[in-house]
């Protein structure tokens, strides 16, 4: 499929607000947990879904490498190490020039940017700013720091496409392998959540506001009639992509095959992808895989709980699938983990495949009529899952879609 060498997933690592292993993430999603809470420490009244990361876990990264990492790079590096471990890659295989690393984030560490600018503008100025600030704030901080922790020696790229970054990274990783440039690529996305990040979405009126007396865990409600915006989350999801024969030769456990990846731009707007461009992306990913939509068992929607975004995706999905394929979004549980969302949610789906269970969209109480006509998963559903469509859309008019599933 897709014309080149076959690409399979042989490992995954996750750091999330609902657990730091795929198994824990799945079990807490299946239990219907939400990580969304009011961030009292921010003093802004904003809700978010943060990762509770114990200090000893952070310090498991040697200081010599950790000193170059802001929070977003720590999330990326920890997930990368877990992914490499789960794939059973030897040190020699990881350090081979045939192994690369592609990890993206919306931007560098926003908490570090915040503190550096405070020092620059209201503190001691440049003489008081650490030389490490560059490495923490750089746009490719998630990629080079994950690669550094693992001593990866191959190609390193860092796509920065906001909420599509993780899926873009997987798409690039797939291309590097199918074209023969690399045999193994760790790829995914990471983002950290700060008042600055949530505030940016508020400025664009894309952030959810809670109603009076509404519990924080009810705020993010993809496809629901009462949705009014997203809640920012954080985390990292890293996949180990590998050329099929390479994986087979070393006896690796194959979790799934990636059939195809497609990406395109919405020409009409940089702030909101429209349904016609989403439709173009979805059709393209099926054409590349030489599969038909009817061969899909589940759609892991982008659906972040924004009014326009969910509607555009629903309209596109309805025109392709009607109500014949189950659809759900995990943003009601996890918030929107931004650059991490694509690969982090793929990791959750890999667990769903293992368990043969679809996780419903949390807080979807009354489907918005404009998001109707789909087979919305409303409760846990037993379902053999063979082929999956994963969507991600991002500011900048970036659309991306990936088809993956069991090997033929």
């Amino acid at each position: 499929m897709n014309g080149g060498r076959r690409v399979v997933i042989t490992g995954c690592g996750v750091i999330s607000s609902l657990g730091n292993t795929p198994e824990e993430l799945y079990s807490r999603l299946a239990a219907g947990e939400s990580a969304v809470r009011i961030m009292t420490s921010w003093g802004t009244g904003q809700a978010a879904a943060p990762v509770d990361l114990p200090e000893d876990v952070i310090r498991s990264i040697p200081r010599a490498k950790r000193r170059f990492m802001g929070r977003v790079a720590v999330l990326s590096a920890l997930a990368g190490r877990r992914a490499a471990d789960s794939a059973g890659l030897s040190e020699e295989e990881i350090r081979s020039e045939r192994t690369g690393c592609v990890v993206g984030s919306t931007m560098g560490s926003t908490s570090e940017m915040d503190s550096s600018f405070r020092t620059l503008l209201t503190g001691g100025g440049i003489p008081e700013i650490s030389p490490m600030a560059f490495f923490k704030c750089a746009s490719h901080t998630t990629a080079f720091n994950a690669a550094s922790l693992l001593d990866i020696c191959g190609a390193v790229y860092s796509p920065s496409a906001a909420c599509a970054s993780g899926l873009q990274a997987a798409g690039i990783g797939m291309a590097l392998i199918s074209s023969g440039m690399q045999d193994v690529v760790l790829c995914g996305g990471a983002d950290e959540v700060t008042p600055l990040v949530s505030g940016c979405f508020e400025l664009m009126e894309a952030h959810a506001s809670s109603g009076e007396g509404q519990s924080p865990d009810r705020i993010a409600r993809p496809f629901d009639r009462k949705r009014n915006g997203l809640v920012c989350g954080e985390g990292a999801g890293i996949l180990v992509l590998e050329e099929y024969e390479h994986a087979r030769a070393r006896g690796a456990k194959i979790l799934a095959e990636i059939y195809s990846y497609a990406t395109c731009r919405c020409p009409g707007s940089v702030s909101q992808s429209d349904s016609s461009s989403v439709l173009r992306c979805v059709r393209d990913v099926y054409r590349k895989a030489d599969l038909t939509p009817a061969e899909t068992d589940y759609i892991s929607a982008h659906a972040t709980s924004t009014i326009q975004g969910d509607r555009a995706e629903a309209v596109a999905l309805r025109s392709v699938f009607g109500d014949s394929v189950p659809v759900s979004s995990l943003k009601g549980h996890l918030g929107h983990t931004l650059a991490a969302s694509g690969t982090l949610e793929i990791i959750a789906v890999l667990e769903m495949m293992k368990h043969g269970t679809l996780i419903p969209t949390r807080n979807l109480e009354e489907v918005d009529p404009e998001c109707g006509g789909l087979d919305h998963v409303r409760t846990l559903r037993a379902c053999p899952i063979r082929r999956v469509l994963k969507n991600c859309f991002a500011f900048g008019g970036i659309n991306s879609a990936m088809l993956f599933g069991k090997m033929d």
């Binding site: 200081r63 000193r67 003489p127 008081e128 650490s130 030389p131 490490m132």
Partner: protein, 90 residues
């Protein structure tokens, strides 16, 4: 400041870099014995600037230090000059 107070403040800056206190003996060289590098030294200088209220980045004397004792002596001398009314080094 007493010499003990100066030693304590300098050692605290090294502890912020996660170097255990038991390793902080006067003869230790930063690069060879404590595993630091030039970027660490810039961070260390920023920390010491804050602790001692002095600008260090353009200071030629501080660039010559190699051991912990060199730093102790630098600040002991600086403190003596301040007390003598010479003011902080520029």
């Amino acid at each position: 400041m007493t010499r003990e107070e100066i030693v304590e403040a300098v050692n605290a800056a090294f502890e912020e870099m996660e170097i255990p206190r038991e390793e902080l003996t006067p003869e230790k060289e930063f690069f060879k014995d404590l595993g630091l590098d030039s970027l660490d030294m810039v961070d260390l200088m920023i920390s010491l600037q804050r602790k001692f209220g002095v600008q260090l980045r353009q200071n030629e004397e501080i660039k010559k230090v190699r051991t912990l004792n060199d730093i102790y002596e630098f600040f002991v001398k600086l403190d003596a000059e301040r007390n003598a009314g010479a003011g902080p080094e520029k």
